[in-house]
Assembly symmetry: C2
Homo-oligomer: 331 residues x 2
Protein backbone atom coordinates (compact mmCIF):
# COMPACT_ATOMS: atom_id res chain seq x y z
CA UNK A 1 0.00 0.00 0.00
CA UNK A 2 1.81 3.09 -1.28
CA UNK A 3 0.58 6.66 -0.87
CA UNK A 4 1.73 9.56 -3.09
CA UNK A 5 1.84 13.05 -1.62
CA UNK A 6 1.54 16.31 -3.55
CA UNK A 7 1.90 18.89 -0.92
CA UNK A 8 3.93 17.75 2.10
CA UNK A 9 7.32 19.16 3.05
CA UNK A 10 9.98 18.66 5.72
CA UNK A 11 10.10 22.05 7.42
CA UNK A 12 12.63 21.21 10.11
CA UNK A 13 14.13 18.45 12.22
CA UNK A 14 15.75 18.16 15.65
CA UNK A 15 18.08 15.64 17.28
CA UNK A 16 19.18 15.21 20.90
CA UNK A 17 21.53 12.35 21.81
CA UNK A 18 23.53 10.66 24.52
CA UNK A 19 27.31 10.23 24.71
CA UNK A 20 27.78 7.20 22.43
CA UNK A 21 26.11 8.94 19.48
CA UNK A 22 28.17 12.07 20.13
CA UNK A 23 31.36 9.98 19.86
CA UNK A 24 30.16 8.46 16.58
CA UNK A 25 30.88 9.66 13.03
CA UNK A 26 27.82 11.99 12.96
CA UNK A 27 28.60 13.36 16.44
CA UNK A 28 29.03 16.99 15.37
CA UNK A 29 25.75 17.10 13.43
CA UNK A 30 23.25 16.80 16.29
CA UNK A 31 21.41 19.75 17.84
CA UNK A 32 22.42 18.69 21.34
CA UNK A 33 24.24 15.82 23.03
CA UNK A 34 24.65 14.81 26.66
CA UNK A 35 27.80 13.37 28.19
CA UNK A 36 25.94 10.82 30.30
CA UNK A 37 22.82 8.66 30.10
CA UNK A 38 20.87 10.46 32.86
CA UNK A 39 20.87 14.00 31.39
CA UNK A 40 20.01 15.38 34.83
CA UNK A 41 17.07 13.02 35.48
CA UNK A 42 16.70 10.47 38.26
CA UNK A 43 15.97 7.39 36.16
CA UNK A 44 16.72 6.14 32.65
CA UNK A 45 13.02 6.22 31.82
CA UNK A 46 12.69 9.84 32.92
CA UNK A 47 15.88 10.62 30.99
CA UNK A 48 14.24 9.26 27.84
CA UNK A 49 11.05 11.27 28.48
CA UNK A 50 13.16 14.41 28.78
CA UNK A 51 15.12 13.67 25.59
CA UNK A 52 11.92 13.34 23.57
CA UNK A 53 10.43 16.46 25.16
CA UNK A 54 13.62 18.41 24.51
CA UNK A 55 13.66 17.38 20.85
CA UNK A 56 10.19 18.96 20.49
CA UNK A 57 11.30 22.10 22.35
CA UNK A 58 14.33 22.44 20.05
CA UNK A 59 12.22 21.77 16.94
CA UNK A 60 9.69 24.46 17.89
CA UNK A 61 12.52 26.87 18.63
CA UNK A 62 14.39 26.18 15.37
CA UNK A 63 11.12 26.49 13.43
CA UNK A 64 10.08 29.70 15.18
CA UNK A 65 6.78 28.06 16.09
CA UNK A 66 4.77 27.98 19.28
CA UNK A 67 3.09 24.83 20.53
CA UNK A 68 -0.25 26.46 19.64
CA UNK A 69 0.84 26.35 15.97
CA UNK A 70 1.06 22.56 16.03
CA UNK A 71 -2.07 20.64 15.07
CA UNK A 72 -0.93 17.18 16.08
CA UNK A 73 1.99 15.34 17.67
CA UNK A 74 2.40 11.75 16.47
CA UNK A 75 4.87 9.80 18.62
CA UNK A 76 6.06 6.38 19.69
CA UNK A 77 8.93 4.61 21.44
CA UNK A 78 10.02 1.24 22.82
CA UNK A 79 9.11 1.75 26.47
CA UNK A 80 6.12 -0.29 27.66
CA UNK A 81 2.90 1.57 26.76
CA UNK A 82 5.02 4.10 24.77
CA UNK A 83 5.49 6.00 28.02
CA UNK A 84 8.36 8.19 26.82
CA UNK A 85 6.13 9.56 24.06
CA UNK A 86 3.13 10.10 26.35
CA UNK A 87 5.04 11.76 29.20
CA UNK A 88 7.37 13.62 26.82
CA UNK A 89 4.49 15.09 24.76
CA UNK A 90 2.16 15.92 27.67
CA UNK A 91 3.35 19.45 28.45
CA UNK A 92 2.63 20.69 24.92
CA UNK A 93 -1.14 20.07 25.28
CA UNK A 94 -1.42 19.38 21.56
CA UNK A 95 -3.73 16.73 19.97
CA UNK A 96 -1.76 13.49 20.28
CA UNK A 97 -1.70 10.22 18.35
CA UNK A 98 0.31 7.39 19.89
CA UNK A 99 1.81 4.90 17.47
CA UNK A 100 3.99 1.81 17.77
CA UNK A 101 6.01 0.11 15.13
CA UNK A 102 9.19 -0.66 17.10
CA UNK A 103 12.20 0.77 15.25
CA UNK A 104 10.11 1.69 12.19
CA UNK A 105 7.94 4.01 14.28
CA UNK A 106 9.44 7.15 12.72
CA UNK A 107 8.42 6.26 9.17
CA UNK A 108 4.95 5.13 10.29
CA UNK A 109 4.60 8.55 11.93
CA UNK A 110 5.81 10.42 8.86
CA UNK A 111 3.43 8.54 6.56
CA UNK A 112 0.47 9.22 8.86
CA UNK A 113 1.41 12.89 9.34
CA UNK A 114 1.93 13.33 5.60
CA UNK A 115 -1.45 11.68 4.88
CA UNK A 116 -3.25 14.10 7.22
CA UNK A 117 -1.42 17.14 5.76
CA UNK A 118 -1.93 16.09 2.14
CA UNK A 119 -5.67 15.66 2.77
CA UNK A 120 -5.75 19.21 4.17
CA UNK A 121 -6.79 17.95 7.60
CA UNK A 122 -3.86 19.41 9.53
CA UNK A 123 -1.31 22.12 8.71
CA UNK A 124 1.61 21.43 11.04
CA UNK A 125 2.38 17.93 12.27
CA UNK A 126 5.28 16.91 14.50
CA UNK A 127 6.47 13.31 14.49
CA UNK A 128 8.66 12.34 17.46
CA UNK A 129 10.48 9.21 18.56
CA UNK A 130 12.96 8.33 21.27
CA UNK A 131 14.99 5.46 22.61
CA UNK A 132 17.40 5.00 25.50
CA UNK A 133 20.15 2.43 25.67
CA UNK A 134 19.83 1.61 29.36
CA UNK A 135 16.04 1.92 29.58
CA UNK A 136 15.90 -0.60 26.71
CA UNK A 137 18.49 -2.92 28.21
CA UNK A 138 16.62 -2.92 31.52
CA UNK A 139 13.31 -3.68 29.82
CA UNK A 140 14.29 -6.09 27.05
CA UNK A 141 17.45 -7.84 28.14
CA UNK A 142 19.32 -9.16 31.15
CA UNK A 143 20.07 -6.74 33.98
CA UNK A 144 23.26 -5.04 32.82
CA UNK A 145 24.85 -5.66 36.23
CA UNK A 146 25.04 -9.37 35.32
CA UNK A 147 27.66 -8.49 32.71
CA UNK A 148 26.32 -11.20 30.39
CA UNK A 149 28.36 -11.25 27.17
CA UNK A 150 26.46 -10.72 23.95
CA UNK A 151 26.97 -12.24 20.53
CA UNK A 152 28.39 -10.03 17.78
CA UNK A 153 25.02 -9.97 16.02
CA UNK A 154 23.47 -7.94 18.88
CA UNK A 155 22.87 -4.24 18.28
CA UNK A 156 23.19 -1.25 20.60
CA UNK A 157 20.11 0.87 21.29
CA UNK A 158 20.65 4.56 20.47
CA UNK A 159 19.91 7.15 23.15
CA UNK A 160 18.05 10.38 22.51
CA UNK A 161 15.03 11.99 20.92
CA UNK A 162 14.31 13.20 17.40
CA UNK A 163 11.46 15.20 15.94
CA UNK A 164 10.42 16.34 12.48
CA UNK A 165 8.03 19.14 11.49
CA UNK A 166 5.92 18.41 8.42
CA UNK A 167 3.57 20.89 6.78
CA UNK A 168 2.26 22.09 3.42
CA UNK A 169 4.68 25.05 3.55
CA UNK A 170 7.15 24.55 0.73
CA UNK A 171 10.73 23.75 1.70
CA UNK A 172 13.78 22.18 0.08
CA UNK A 173 12.69 18.62 0.90
CA UNK A 174 9.41 17.06 -0.18
CA UNK A 175 7.76 13.93 1.28
CA UNK A 176 7.02 12.33 -2.08
CA UNK A 177 5.43 8.97 -1.22
CA UNK A 178 5.30 6.30 1.47
CA UNK A 179 4.67 2.57 1.73
CA UNK A 180 2.95 0.84 4.66
CA UNK A 181 4.70 -2.41 5.53
CA UNK A 182 3.27 -5.85 6.24
CA UNK A 183 4.16 -7.95 9.27
CA UNK A 184 6.77 -10.57 8.31
CA UNK A 185 7.69 -13.78 10.08
CA UNK A 186 10.99 -15.56 9.36
CA UNK A 187 10.56 -17.82 12.42
CA UNK A 188 13.66 -16.18 13.90
CA UNK A 189 13.69 -16.50 17.70
CA UNK A 190 16.99 -14.90 18.77
CA UNK A 191 16.51 -11.39 20.23
CA UNK A 192 20.26 -10.89 19.85
CA UNK A 193 19.97 -11.09 16.08
CA UNK A 194 17.17 -8.74 15.15
CA UNK A 195 18.83 -7.75 11.89
CA UNK A 196 18.10 -11.25 10.60
CA UNK A 197 14.44 -10.96 11.67
CA UNK A 198 14.01 -7.53 10.08
CA UNK A 199 15.85 -7.94 6.76
CA UNK A 200 12.87 -9.70 5.16
CA UNK A 201 10.52 -6.87 6.15
CA UNK A 202 12.87 -4.31 4.58
CA UNK A 203 13.07 -6.41 1.41
CA UNK A 204 9.28 -6.80 1.18
CA UNK A 205 8.70 -3.08 1.65
CA UNK A 206 11.43 -1.96 -0.80
CA UNK A 207 10.08 -4.39 -3.41
CA UNK A 208 6.46 -3.27 -2.84
CA UNK A 209 7.43 0.40 -2.94
CA UNK A 210 9.33 0.07 -6.22
CA UNK A 211 6.55 -2.02 -7.78
CA UNK A 212 3.72 0.29 -6.65
CA UNK A 213 5.63 3.31 -8.01
CA UNK A 214 6.88 1.45 -11.11
CA UNK A 215 10.45 2.39 -10.24
CA UNK A 216 13.81 0.80 -10.79
CA UNK A 217 16.02 0.12 -7.75
CA UNK A 218 18.48 2.69 -9.15
CA UNK A 219 15.81 5.40 -9.17
CA UNK A 220 17.00 6.38 -5.70
CA UNK A 221 20.33 8.08 -4.99
CA UNK A 222 20.18 6.46 -1.58
CA UNK A 223 18.14 3.65 -0.05
CA UNK A 224 18.75 3.73 3.67
CA UNK A 225 17.44 0.89 5.82
CA UNK A 226 17.75 0.65 9.48
CA UNK A 227 18.48 -0.43 11.96
CA UNK A 228 19.64 -3.73 10.44
CA UNK A 229 23.26 -3.47 11.56
CA UNK A 230 26.37 -5.00 10.01
CA UNK A 231 24.98 -8.53 9.62
CA UNK A 232 21.37 -7.66 8.83
CA UNK A 233 22.61 -5.38 6.04
CA UNK A 234 24.41 -8.26 4.35
CA UNK A 235 21.41 -10.56 4.83
CA UNK A 236 19.17 -7.96 3.15
CA UNK A 237 21.52 -7.60 0.17
CA UNK A 238 21.62 -11.36 -0.36
CA UNK A 239 17.87 -11.74 0.19
CA UNK A 240 16.98 -8.92 -2.24
CA UNK A 241 19.08 -10.63 -4.91
CA UNK A 242 17.90 -14.20 -4.29
CA UNK A 243 14.22 -13.37 -3.75
CA UNK A 244 13.64 -10.46 -6.15
CA UNK A 245 16.74 -10.38 -8.37
CA UNK A 246 17.41 -6.81 -7.23
CA UNK A 247 20.88 -5.52 -6.42
CA UNK A 248 21.38 -3.13 -3.52
CA UNK A 249 24.75 -1.67 -4.49
CA UNK A 250 26.49 1.67 -3.95
CA UNK A 251 23.16 3.47 -3.48
CA UNK A 252 22.44 1.42 -0.37
CA UNK A 253 23.34 1.91 3.27
CA UNK A 254 21.95 1.07 6.73
CA UNK A 255 21.51 3.61 9.52
CA UNK A 256 22.57 1.01 12.11
CA UNK A 257 26.02 0.89 10.50
CA UNK A 258 26.29 4.70 10.17
CA UNK A 259 25.43 6.04 13.62
CA UNK A 260 28.45 4.49 15.37
CA UNK A 261 31.98 3.58 14.29
CA UNK A 262 31.88 -0.16 14.82
CA UNK A 263 35.72 -0.26 14.74
CA UNK A 264 36.49 2.37 17.37
CA UNK A 265 33.29 1.76 19.39
CA UNK A 266 33.40 -2.03 19.91
CA UNK A 267 30.64 -1.90 22.56
CA UNK A 268 28.09 -1.27 19.81
CA UNK A 269 28.71 -4.74 18.36
CA UNK A 270 26.72 -5.00 15.07
CA UNK A 271 25.70 -1.32 15.16
CA UNK A 272 22.95 1.01 16.32
CA UNK A 273 19.26 0.23 16.83
CA UNK A 274 16.14 1.64 18.45
CA UNK A 275 13.35 3.82 16.99
CA UNK A 276 15.79 6.73 17.18
CA UNK A 277 18.47 5.17 14.98
CA UNK A 278 16.91 5.82 11.56
CA UNK A 279 15.75 9.41 12.25
CA UNK A 280 19.04 10.30 13.95
CA UNK A 281 20.96 9.42 10.79
CA UNK A 282 18.38 10.79 8.38
CA UNK A 283 17.66 14.07 10.16
CA UNK A 284 21.34 14.88 10.75
CA UNK A 285 22.89 13.48 7.56
CA UNK A 286 20.43 12.58 4.78
CA UNK A 287 18.00 15.49 4.90
CA UNK A 288 20.79 18.14 4.94
CA UNK A 289 22.20 16.48 1.77
CA UNK A 290 18.73 16.63 0.17
CA UNK A 291 18.47 20.29 1.17
CA UNK A 292 21.80 21.01 -0.53
CA UNK A 293 20.82 19.01 -3.60
CA UNK A 294 23.77 16.63 -3.13
CA UNK A 295 21.15 13.89 -2.97
CA UNK A 296 17.95 14.16 -5.02
CA UNK A 297 15.92 11.08 -4.17
CA UNK A 298 16.14 9.07 -0.97
CA UNK A 299 14.10 6.11 0.27
CA UNK A 300 14.10 5.77 4.05
CA UNK A 301 13.24 2.21 5.04
CA UNK A 302 13.11 2.07 8.84
CA UNK A 303 12.81 -1.48 10.16
CA UNK A 304 11.13 -2.72 13.33
CA UNK A 305 11.26 -6.00 15.27
CA UNK A 306 7.81 -6.75 16.69
CA UNK A 307 7.99 -8.76 19.90
CA UNK A 308 8.12 -8.42 23.66
CA UNK A 309 10.25 -10.32 26.18
CA UNK A 310 7.10 -12.21 27.27
CA UNK A 311 6.65 -13.64 23.77
CA UNK A 312 10.35 -14.53 23.46
CA UNK A 313 10.13 -16.41 26.79
CA UNK A 314 7.08 -18.22 25.39
CA UNK A 315 9.18 -19.27 22.36
CA UNK A 316 7.31 -17.19 19.81
CA UNK A 317 9.23 -15.92 16.77
CA UNK A 318 10.32 -12.29 16.43
CA UNK A 319 8.07 -10.64 13.84
CA UNK A 320 9.14 -7.62 11.83
CA UNK A 321 7.79 -4.71 9.82
CA UNK A 322 9.18 -1.88 7.73
CA UNK A 323 7.53 1.34 6.59
CA UNK A 324 9.22 3.34 3.81
CA UNK A 325 9.20 7.07 3.10
CA UNK A 326 10.47 8.63 -0.14
CA UNK A 327 12.00 12.11 0.18
CA UNK A 328 12.92 14.36 -2.75
CA UNK A 329 15.09 17.42 -3.07
CA UNK A 330 13.01 20.40 -4.26
CA UNK A 331 14.64 22.52 -6.99
Amino acid sequence: MTFKFNNVFVNNTSTVTGPYEKEGPLGNKFDKSYDDLYNGEKSWEKAEVKLLEESIDILLNKSNKKKEDIDVIIAGDLLNQISASCYGSAKFKVPFLGIYSACSTSTEGILLGASLIDAGRVKNAIVSVSSHNMASEKQFRNPTEYGAPKPRTATFTTTGGASILLSNTKSKVKVESATIGKICNMDQKDPNNMGAAMAVAAADTIYTHLKDNKRDINYYDLIITGDLGVYGKEILKEYMMSEYGLELSTNYNDSGTMIYDVESQPEVLAGGSGPLCSPLVNYSYTIPLLEKGVLNRVLIVATGALFSPTFVFQKEPILSISHAVSLESVK
Copy 2:
Protein backbone atom coordinates in the same frame (compact mmCIF):
# COMPACT_ATOMS: atom_id res chain seq x y z
CA MET B 1 -8.63 18.97 16.27
CA THR B 2 -11.86 17.67 14.70
CA PHE B 3 -12.11 15.97 11.31
CA LYS B 4 -15.35 15.76 9.31
CA PHE B 5 -15.87 12.78 7.01
CA ASN B 6 -18.04 12.69 3.92
CA ASN B 7 -17.71 9.19 2.72
CA VAL B 8 -16.87 6.70 5.48
CA PHE B 9 -19.21 3.95 6.65
CA VAL B 10 -19.25 1.15 9.21
CA ASN B 11 -19.61 -1.95 7.05
CA ASN B 12 -19.43 -4.54 9.80
CA THR B 13 -18.15 -5.31 13.29
CA SER B 14 -17.12 -8.39 15.23
CA THR B 15 -16.80 -9.23 18.92
CA VAL B 16 -15.22 -12.19 20.71
CA THR B 17 -15.22 -12.31 24.51
CA GLY B 18 -14.34 -14.29 27.60
CA PRO B 19 -16.71 -15.65 30.27
CA TYR B 20 -17.28 -12.51 32.38
CA GLU B 21 -18.54 -10.53 29.39
CA LYS B 22 -20.79 -13.42 28.38
CA GLU B 23 -22.37 -13.34 31.84
CA GLY B 24 -22.94 -9.59 31.59
CA PRO B 25 -26.05 -7.76 30.32
CA LEU B 26 -24.84 -7.75 26.68
CA GLY B 27 -23.79 -11.41 26.84
CA ASN B 28 -26.13 -12.64 24.10
CA LYS B 29 -25.05 -9.97 21.60
CA PHE B 30 -21.46 -11.05 20.93
CA ASP B 31 -20.36 -13.06 17.92
CA LYS B 32 -18.55 -15.57 20.08
CA SER B 33 -17.69 -16.07 23.75
CA TYR B 34 -15.42 -18.49 25.55
CA ASP B 35 -16.15 -20.12 28.89
CA ASP B 36 -12.61 -19.73 30.19
CA LEU B 37 -9.72 -17.26 29.92
CA TYR B 38 -7.37 -19.55 27.95
CA ASN B 39 -9.60 -20.26 24.92
CA GLY B 40 -7.45 -23.27 24.08
CA GLU B 41 -4.10 -21.44 24.26
CA LYS B 42 -1.20 -22.12 26.60
CA SER B 43 -0.78 -18.64 28.07
CA TRP B 44 -2.95 -15.59 28.71
CA GLU B 45 -0.90 -13.58 26.23
CA LYS B 46 -1.38 -16.18 23.50
CA ALA B 47 -5.07 -16.32 24.41
CA GLU B 48 -5.31 -12.57 23.79
CA VAL B 49 -3.46 -12.89 20.46
CA LYS B 50 -5.96 -15.54 19.38
CA LEU B 51 -8.96 -13.46 20.46
CA LEU B 52 -7.80 -10.52 18.33
CA GLU B 53 -7.00 -12.78 15.38
CA GLU B 54 -10.37 -14.52 15.67
CA SER B 55 -12.21 -11.19 15.70
CA ILE B 56 -10.62 -10.41 12.31
CA ASP B 57 -11.48 -13.88 10.97
CA ILE B 58 -15.10 -13.45 12.04
CA LEU B 59 -15.25 -9.91 10.60
CA LEU B 60 -13.93 -11.08 7.21
CA ASN B 61 -16.38 -13.96 7.24
CA LYS B 62 -19.40 -11.81 8.20
CA SER B 63 -18.39 -9.25 5.55
CA ASN B 64 -17.83 -11.83 2.84
CA LYS B 65 -14.34 -10.43 2.32
CA LYS B 66 -10.98 -12.07 1.84
CA LYS B 67 -7.86 -10.76 3.53
CA GLU B 68 -6.68 -9.64 0.06
CA ASP B 69 -9.62 -7.19 0.00
CA ILE B 70 -8.29 -5.38 3.07
CA ASP B 71 -5.94 -2.45 2.44
CA VAL B 72 -4.80 -1.87 6.01
CA ILE B 73 -5.19 -3.25 9.52
CA ILE B 74 -4.85 -0.64 12.26
CA ALA B 75 -4.53 -2.21 15.71
CA GLY B 76 -3.40 -1.72 19.28
CA ASP B 77 -3.68 -3.23 22.75
CA LEU B 78 -2.33 -2.98 26.30
CA LEU B 79 0.32 -5.70 26.14
CA ASN B 80 3.89 -4.41 26.16
CA GLN B 81 4.90 -3.45 22.61
CA ILE B 82 1.25 -4.03 21.51
CA SER B 83 2.15 -7.69 21.04
CA ALA B 84 -1.41 -9.00 20.83
CA SER B 85 -2.04 -6.74 17.83
CA CYS B 86 1.24 -7.64 16.10
CA TYR B 87 1.00 -11.41 16.60
CA GLY B 88 -2.78 -11.42 16.08
CA SER B 89 -2.56 -9.52 12.76
CA ALA B 90 0.50 -11.29 11.34
CA LYS B 91 -1.21 -14.17 9.52
CA PHE B 92 -3.31 -11.83 7.36
CA LYS B 93 -0.21 -10.35 5.63
CA VAL B 94 -2.00 -7.02 5.20
CA PRO B 95 -0.33 -3.56 5.49
CA PHE B 96 -0.29 -2.87 9.23
CA LEU B 97 -0.25 0.26 11.35
CA GLY B 98 0.36 -0.21 15.08
CA ILE B 99 -1.22 2.36 17.38
CA TYR B 100 -1.38 2.90 21.12
CA SER B 101 -3.74 5.03 23.08
CA ALA B 102 -4.49 2.71 26.02
CA CYS B 103 -8.26 2.25 26.35
CA SER B 104 -8.99 4.92 23.71
CA THR B 105 -7.09 2.93 21.07
CA SER B 106 -10.29 1.93 19.23
CA THR B 107 -11.39 5.51 18.53
CA GLU B 108 -7.83 6.55 17.54
CA GLY B 109 -7.90 3.67 15.06
CA ILE B 110 -11.33 4.59 13.69
CA LEU B 111 -10.33 8.23 13.18
CA LEU B 112 -7.13 7.24 11.39
CA GLY B 113 -8.87 4.62 9.25
CA ALA B 114 -11.68 7.06 8.41
CA SER B 115 -9.11 9.75 7.47
CA LEU B 116 -7.38 7.39 5.04
CA ILE B 117 -10.69 6.25 3.50
CA ASP B 118 -12.13 9.76 3.22
CA ALA B 119 -8.96 10.91 1.41
CA GLY B 120 -9.40 8.05 -1.05
CA ARG B 121 -6.12 6.45 0.04
CA VAL B 122 -7.57 3.10 1.10
CA LYS B 123 -10.88 1.38 0.38
CA ASN B 124 -11.24 -1.17 3.17
CA ALA B 125 -9.71 -0.61 6.60
CA ILE B 126 -10.01 -2.89 9.61
CA VAL B 127 -9.48 -1.47 13.10
CA SER B 128 -8.85 -4.09 15.80
CA VAL B 129 -8.26 -4.00 19.54
CA SER B 130 -8.03 -6.57 22.30
CA SER B 131 -7.54 -6.89 26.02
CA HIS B 132 -7.32 -9.78 28.46
CA ASN B 133 -8.16 -9.64 32.13
CA MET B 134 -5.39 -11.93 33.36
CA ALA B 135 -2.71 -10.80 30.88
CA SER B 136 -3.38 -7.25 32.11
CA GLU B 137 -3.41 -8.18 35.79
CA LYS B 138 -0.10 -9.99 35.37
CA GLN B 139 1.46 -7.05 33.58
CA PHE B 140 0.04 -4.06 35.42
CA ARG B 141 -0.86 -5.19 38.91
CA ASN B 142 0.13 -7.53 41.70
CA PRO B 143 0.40 -11.23 40.90
CA THR B 144 -3.17 -12.45 41.28
CA GLU B 145 -1.99 -15.35 43.45
CA TYR B 146 -1.25 -12.81 46.21
CA GLY B 147 -5.00 -12.27 46.55
CA ALA B 148 -4.43 -8.58 47.32
CA PRO B 149 -7.76 -6.86 47.92
CA LYS B 150 -8.60 -3.93 45.66
CA PRO B 151 -10.42 -0.71 46.38
CA ARG B 152 -13.93 -0.29 44.98
CA THR B 153 -12.66 2.31 42.50
CA ALA B 154 -10.62 -0.33 40.62
CA THR B 155 -11.98 -1.55 37.29
CA PHE B 156 -11.95 -5.01 35.69
CA THR B 157 -10.19 -5.46 32.35
CA THR B 158 -12.44 -6.93 29.67
CA THR B 159 -11.30 -10.05 27.81
CA GLY B 160 -11.61 -10.50 24.07
CA GLY B 161 -11.07 -8.99 20.67
CA ALA B 162 -13.16 -6.63 18.54
CA SER B 163 -12.82 -5.46 14.96
CA ILE B 164 -14.61 -3.01 12.72
CA LEU B 165 -14.59 -2.78 8.93
CA LEU B 166 -14.70 0.75 7.54
CA SER B 167 -14.99 1.63 3.86
CA ASN B 168 -16.58 4.07 1.42
CA THR B 169 -19.31 1.52 0.63
CA LYS B 170 -22.55 3.00 1.90
CA SER B 171 -24.15 1.30 4.88
CA LYS B 172 -26.68 2.20 7.57
CA VAL B 173 -24.06 3.83 9.83
CA LYS B 174 -21.81 6.71 8.82
CA VAL B 175 -18.59 7.84 10.53
CA GLU B 176 -19.51 11.53 10.58
CA SER B 177 -16.60 13.21 12.38
CA ALA B 178 -13.86 12.57 14.94
CA THR B 179 -11.83 14.54 17.48
CA ILE B 180 -8.20 13.84 18.40
CA GLY B 181 -7.67 14.19 22.13
CA LYS B 182 -4.92 15.96 24.07
CA ILE B 183 -2.92 14.40 26.88
CA CYS B 184 -4.33 15.49 30.26
CA ASN B 185 -2.68 15.44 33.65
CA MET B 186 -4.73 15.66 36.86
CA ASP B 187 -1.73 14.62 38.99
CA GLN B 188 -3.62 11.48 39.93
CA LYS B 189 -1.23 8.71 41.02
CA ASP B 190 -3.50 5.81 42.02
CA PRO B 191 -3.63 3.07 39.36
CA ASN B 192 -6.67 1.66 41.15
CA ASN B 193 -8.67 4.77 40.31
CA MET B 194 -8.16 5.34 36.62
CA GLY B 195 -11.69 6.68 36.15
CA ALA B 196 -10.62 9.76 38.11
CA ALA B 197 -7.53 10.20 35.91
CA MET B 198 -9.49 9.80 32.67
CA ALA B 199 -12.62 11.86 33.37
CA VAL B 200 -10.84 15.13 32.60
CA ALA B 201 -9.67 13.80 29.21
CA ALA B 202 -13.23 12.79 28.33
CA ALA B 203 -14.48 16.23 29.37
CA ASP B 204 -11.82 18.04 27.34
CA THR B 205 -12.56 15.98 24.23
CA ILE B 206 -16.36 16.24 24.50
CA TYR B 207 -16.07 20.02 24.97
CA THR B 208 -13.62 20.37 22.05
CA HIS B 209 -15.76 18.18 19.80
CA LEU B 210 -18.95 20.16 20.50
CA LYS B 211 -17.15 23.51 20.08
CA ASP B 212 -15.37 22.51 16.83
CA ASN B 213 -18.66 21.27 15.38
CA LYS B 214 -20.72 24.12 16.91
CA ARG B 215 -23.04 21.61 18.52
CA ASP B 216 -25.12 21.56 21.66
CA ILE B 217 -24.58 18.74 24.17
CA ASN B 218 -28.13 17.56 23.39
CA TYR B 219 -27.29 17.18 19.69
CA TYR B 220 -26.41 13.55 20.40
CA ASP B 221 -28.95 10.89 21.25
CA LEU B 222 -26.17 9.16 23.16
CA ILE B 223 -22.74 10.21 24.40
CA ILE B 224 -20.95 7.09 25.50
CA THR B 225 -17.66 7.42 27.36
CA GLY B 226 -15.58 4.58 28.52
CA ASP B 227 -14.17 2.98 30.35
CA LEU B 228 -14.65 5.43 33.24
CA GLY B 229 -16.61 3.05 35.47
CA VAL B 230 -19.13 3.84 38.19
CA TYR B 231 -17.06 6.49 39.97
CA GLY B 232 -15.35 8.03 36.95
CA LYS B 233 -18.75 8.50 35.34
CA GLU B 234 -19.95 10.60 38.27
CA ILE B 235 -16.68 12.57 38.33
CA LEU B 236 -17.11 13.37 34.63
CA LYS B 237 -20.71 14.57 35.12
CA GLU B 238 -19.67 16.88 37.96
CA TYR B 239 -16.57 18.09 36.11
CA MET B 240 -18.49 18.84 32.88
CA MET B 241 -20.90 20.96 34.87
CA SER B 242 -18.37 22.79 37.03
CA GLU B 243 -15.77 23.35 34.28
CA TYR B 244 -17.92 23.88 31.20
CA GLY B 245 -21.47 24.36 32.53
CA LEU B 246 -22.62 21.41 30.44
CA GLU B 247 -25.03 18.79 31.73
CA LEU B 248 -24.54 15.15 30.82
CA SER B 249 -28.02 13.83 31.52
CA THR B 250 -30.20 11.05 30.14
CA ASN B 251 -28.28 11.02 26.84
CA TYR B 252 -25.11 9.97 28.65
CA ASN B 253 -23.71 6.58 29.60
CA ASP B 254 -20.33 4.90 30.14
CA SER B 255 -19.30 1.61 28.55
CA GLY B 256 -17.49 0.58 31.74
CA THR B 257 -20.83 0.56 33.56
CA MET B 258 -22.67 -1.25 30.74
CA ILE B 259 -20.51 -4.25 29.94
CA TYR B 260 -20.99 -5.96 33.33
CA ASP B 261 -23.74 -6.00 35.91
CA VAL B 262 -21.93 -4.45 38.86
CA GLU B 263 -24.62 -5.80 41.23
CA SER B 264 -24.58 -9.46 40.24
CA GLN B 265 -20.89 -9.47 39.21
CA PRO B 266 -19.19 -7.94 42.29
CA GLU B 267 -15.73 -9.01 41.11
CA VAL B 268 -15.83 -6.25 38.48
CA LEU B 269 -15.83 -3.58 41.22
CA ALA B 270 -16.32 -0.17 39.50
CA GLY B 271 -16.95 -1.75 36.08
CA GLY B 272 -15.23 -2.80 32.89
CA SER B 273 -12.03 -1.38 31.37
CA GLY B 274 -9.40 -2.16 28.74
CA PRO B 275 -9.18 -1.10 25.07
CA LEU B 276 -11.88 -3.68 24.34
CA CYS B 277 -14.49 -2.22 26.70
CA SER B 278 -15.70 0.67 24.52
CA PRO B 279 -15.85 -1.28 21.21
CA LEU B 280 -17.46 -4.29 22.87
CA VAL B 281 -20.38 -2.14 24.03
CA ASN B 282 -20.54 -0.02 20.90
CA TYR B 283 -20.21 -2.80 18.34
CA SER B 284 -22.74 -5.08 20.05
CA TYR B 285 -25.22 -2.51 21.39
CA THR B 286 -24.82 1.04 19.98
CA ILE B 287 -24.17 0.36 16.30
CA PRO B 288 -27.10 -2.09 15.97
CA LEU B 289 -29.38 0.65 17.41
CA LEU B 290 -27.97 3.11 14.85
CA GLU B 291 -28.58 0.56 12.10
CA LYS B 292 -32.20 0.21 13.18
CA GLY B 293 -32.61 3.98 13.46
CA VAL B 294 -33.49 3.72 17.17
CA LEU B 295 -30.52 6.02 17.74
CA ASN B 296 -29.62 8.67 15.16
CA ARG B 297 -26.51 10.38 16.47
CA VAL B 298 -23.96 8.89 18.84
CA LEU B 299 -20.67 10.25 20.15
CA ILE B 300 -18.25 7.52 21.22
CA VAL B 301 -15.68 8.93 23.64
CA ALA B 302 -13.26 6.13 24.50
CA THR B 303 -10.90 7.06 27.33
CA GLY B 304 -7.33 5.93 27.94
CA ALA B 305 -5.00 6.08 30.96
CA LEU B 306 -1.44 6.69 29.76
CA PHE B 307 1.14 5.21 32.11
CA SER B 308 3.19 2.10 32.73
CA PRO B 309 3.94 0.32 36.03
CA THR B 310 7.52 1.67 35.81
CA PHE B 311 6.28 5.27 35.88
CA VAL B 312 3.83 4.55 38.72
CA PHE B 313 6.71 3.07 40.75
CA GLN B 314 8.70 6.22 40.00
CA LYS B 315 5.80 8.28 41.42
CA GLU B 316 4.77 9.89 38.16
CA PRO B 317 1.10 10.82 37.67
CA ILE B 318 -1.25 8.79 35.46
CA LEU B 319 -1.87 10.80 32.28
CA SER B 320 -4.98 10.37 30.18
CA ILE B 321 -6.37 10.92 26.70
CA SER B 322 -9.67 10.52 24.92
CA HIS B 323 -10.43 10.37 21.21
CA ALA B 324 -14.06 10.82 20.09
CA VAL B 325 -15.90 9.45 17.05
CA SER B 326 -19.33 10.63 15.93
CA LEU B 327 -21.54 8.01 14.25
CA GLU B 328 -24.80 8.74 12.44
CA SER B 329 -27.68 6.58 11.35
CA VAL B 330 -28.07 6.73 7.55
CA LYS B 331 -31.66 7.10 6.32
